[in-house]
């Protein structure tokens, strides 16, 4: 789960990472009040989960009350690469002497946290890594040992941090590691990590990704979920305990098991179609779960046809068929369905579907055949509207 900049900063601050003074604001008046409290100059920052907002006008410096009002008014509601700005972060402006980069990421290959430090801050770190890898000092931490003082020194000297700030930069890394472990993050990234004109170090930006699987241990963090940025179908699915990802096509997809659903999306794309979503109904799906999933898929107005791809292991074909029949009675879909049932109790499932004589539903023998059929149906469905 990705946090907004200010949520990340507040989280890091709780663990002693120095961040500039700031206040969140959801309206122009709140923004002005925050600016008045903080003093000028201050920075008005759009809170969206996307990089490069500064270049797109999402970050402005305000020298006085009028400017703060003007910037807040301009940025709130702004569209930044498809995301609407609902919140601002008003922050004390910093005098920047140097921009560094610091991050800790869960390195999957090494199965350990990877700490990175570089004096090339403010840039895209993947670009630095590609063009100037020696400019990034890196170190893996043994999770059972933790982050030691000598790790901090090794990184700070290795990155070529100026001598007078080696200690505070090292201390910041230690606090950052503490936050990474205590909050169960997958990533904490500070870019830039600045040295001020007064030779203090501060996190000027914060990108924090938390482990969704660990939120049960962190109820406060769980409440930070950005429901405003959440798509309507994604919200519906989450409330129903379904795994759903919105895509931009017109073919609704349901399958059981993440791998099979990913594979189904690929096969549909290869057949020339564009999937509208990823939906994993999970193992052992019961009829109610299937009916509930159909509602989520059909609530997306772009969907012109739906593909069910089920290979039953724990999931039983007859349960899926019952769920579909129930869903057809509840929501009476207006778009065609193609259903491919294989695996546990598949014959029983196909028999139930045949007996129910659902309008607009056909079955396919194989995954490839099902994909071809649904792509054809979605194409036909487009035609009447576009005439």
């Amino acid at each position: 789960m990705d946090l907004l900049e200010y949520q990340g900063k507040q989280l890091l601050r709780r663990h002693g990472v120095p961040v500039p003074e700031g206040r969140p604001a959801a309206s122009v008046d709140e923004a002005v009040a925050a600016a008045e409290e903080i003093g000028y100059p201050c920075v008005v920052k759009a809170q969206v989960q996307i990089g490069g907002r500064g270049k797109l006008g999402g970050i402005k410096v305000a020298a006085d009350r009028e400017a703060a009002r003007e910037h807040a008014d301009a940025i709130l509601g702004m569209d930044i690469r498809g995301l609407t700005v609902h919140e601002l972060w008003i922050e004390q402006a910093s005098e920047i002497a140097a921009e560094h980069y610091a991050s800790i990421v869960l390195d999957r290959s090494a199965r350990a946290p990877l700490v990175m430090l570089s004096t090339r801050g403010g840039m895209d770190i993947e670009e630095v890594a590609a063009t100037e890898p020696e400019a990034i000092a890196t170190l893996h931490v043994d999770p059972l040992l933790g982050f030691c003082d000598f790790h901090a020194r090794r990184l700070a000297f290795g990155a070529g941090v100026e001598a007078d700030v080696v200690r505070p930069v090292g201390a910041l890394l230690a606090r950052l590691y503490e936050a990474f472990v205590a909050e169960e993050a997958m990533l904490v990234e500070v870019n830039p990590l600045i040295v001020t004109a007064g030779r203090e170090v501060r996190a000027l930006d914060a990108k924090v990704t938390l482990d969704a699987n660990a939120l049960f241990r962190h109820p406060d963090n769980a409440a930070l979920r950005d429901t405003a940025a959440e798509d309507e179908q994604e919200r519906m699915a989450r409330e129903r305990g379904l795994t759903y990802v919105k895509l931009d096509g017109d073919i609704g997809i349901l399958g059981n098991g993440a791998g099979l659903v990913m594979s189904t999306l690929d096969v549909v794309a290869q057949a020339g179609g564009r999937p509208a979503n990823f939906l994993d109904a999970g193992g052992g799906s019961k009829a109610e779960a299937i009916a509930s999933a159909v509602e989520v898929i059909l609530s997306d107005p772009k969907v012109r046809a739906v593909l069910f791809n089920i290979f039953g292991g724990i999931t039983r074909g007859d349960e899926v068929a019952r769920g579909l029949i129930e869903a057809f009675h509840q929501v009476q879909p207006q778009v065609p369905f193609v259903v491919r049932l294989d695996g546990t109790n598949d014959e029983e499932g196909r028999r139930l579907l045949a007996e129910a004589e659902l309008p607009n539903l056909r079955t396919a023998r194989t995954m490839n055949e099902a994909a071809e059929q649904v792509v054809e149906l979605a194409g036909e469905a487009v035609a009447p509207g576009s005439r």
Partner: protein, 294 residues
């Protein structure tokens, strides 16, 4: 032969008194797996359809000589159960539980590195099936028969799909190993490919990967250097958008990293043929081994 589990496996199920745990433990026993014990703290002395339940792994191992564990406890307790099994001397641990926090998995992984004889499969995996010998986990065994194709996969149902496509062409399996969809798996593709390479029954390996991480790329390098048997690849998630977790906690394209395209190219660069659909995987296997699956 087969890998990881066979007729000699002596299985202890952690969480055997739970609904899912008992269902699958009994399912595994019906298949022929020797389910010798269960562990549920506080329920020692009871039994589940004749399988004795112990309070601790230590007592289960002492009484029954269990050598393999299946972990079926809920996510908050699963990492601890894995560590307990390892501490008790269990050598092969199969963790089915989905949703274990990644930092728990990091600590487990770091501890198991200190005990290299212990092998962890999963978490968040369907388990291991050696057709005709033993089933440890939730793989629907009815679809698979003994044979010469070893399958290793990050996914469950996709594995069944691929296995079924192979079966329709007459191929059976030496073993089917689900390594799981989490960011920090206990065993990697490389670990399992190495086992199949040593297994005399396995003549061809199918490796089914997906987006996220670089396990497939590392496996590609390993295959080039250490694997003599033919390998057929499959990668799911070509259409996955960056930054979105596709069901499995580990299935996420981060920036430009972990794409299906990059993984398929890495495998193909080392001469591994990659099927673009599960059907194509079976076609390539048939092409390599001969159409009758012999």
């Amino acid at each position: 032969m087969s890998v990881l589990v066979d007729e000699g496996t002596r299985l202890c199920v952690s969480g055997i008194t739970g609904r899912e745990g008992s269902f699958h433990a009994m399912n595994n026993r019906r298949y022929g797996t020797q389910v010798v014990a269960g562990v549920t703290p506080g329920k020692g002395g009871q039994d589940v359809e004749g399988v004795p339940v112990f309070d601790t792994f230590r007592s289960a191992v002492a009484e029954t000589d269990a050598d393999t564990a299946m972990i079926f406890v809920p996510p908050p307790f699963a990492a601890d159960s894995i560590l307990e099994a390892a501490d008790a001397g269990i050598q092969t641990i199969v963790a089915i539980t989905e949703g274990i926090p990644a930092h728990d998995e990091l600590r487990v992984s770091a501890q198991l590195e200190r005990t290299p004889s212990v092998r962890l499969i999963g978490p968040n995996c369907p388990g291991v099936l050696s057709p005709g010998k033993a089933n440890v986990g939730i793989i629907p065994a009815a679809f698979f028969s003994p044979g010469n194709v070893g399958v290793v996969s990050r996914s469950g149902t996709l594995t069944y799909q691929i296995g079924n496509e192979l079966a329709q062409r007459g191929f059976g399996n030496s073993s089917i190993v689900g390594i799981g969809g989490d960011p920090v798996p206990g065993s990697s593709f490389i670990d399992i490919l190495a086992l199949f390479e040593q297994d005399p029954e396995t003549e061809l390996m199918v490796m089914s990967g997906e987006i996220g991480g670089e396990a497939e790329e590392l496996a590609a390098d390993y295959i080039a250097a250490h694997v003599s048997k033919p390998v057929v690849g499959y990668i799911a998630g070509f259409t996955a958008p960056p930054g979105k977790t596709m069901g499995h906690a580990g299935a996420i394209v981060s920036g430009s990293k972990g794409t299906a395209q990059a993984k398929a190219e890495a495998l193909e660069a080392h001469g591994v043929r990659v099927g673009r659909t599960p059907t194509q995987v079976a076609e390539i296997a048939a092409d390599i081994l001969g159409a009758d699956g012999a």
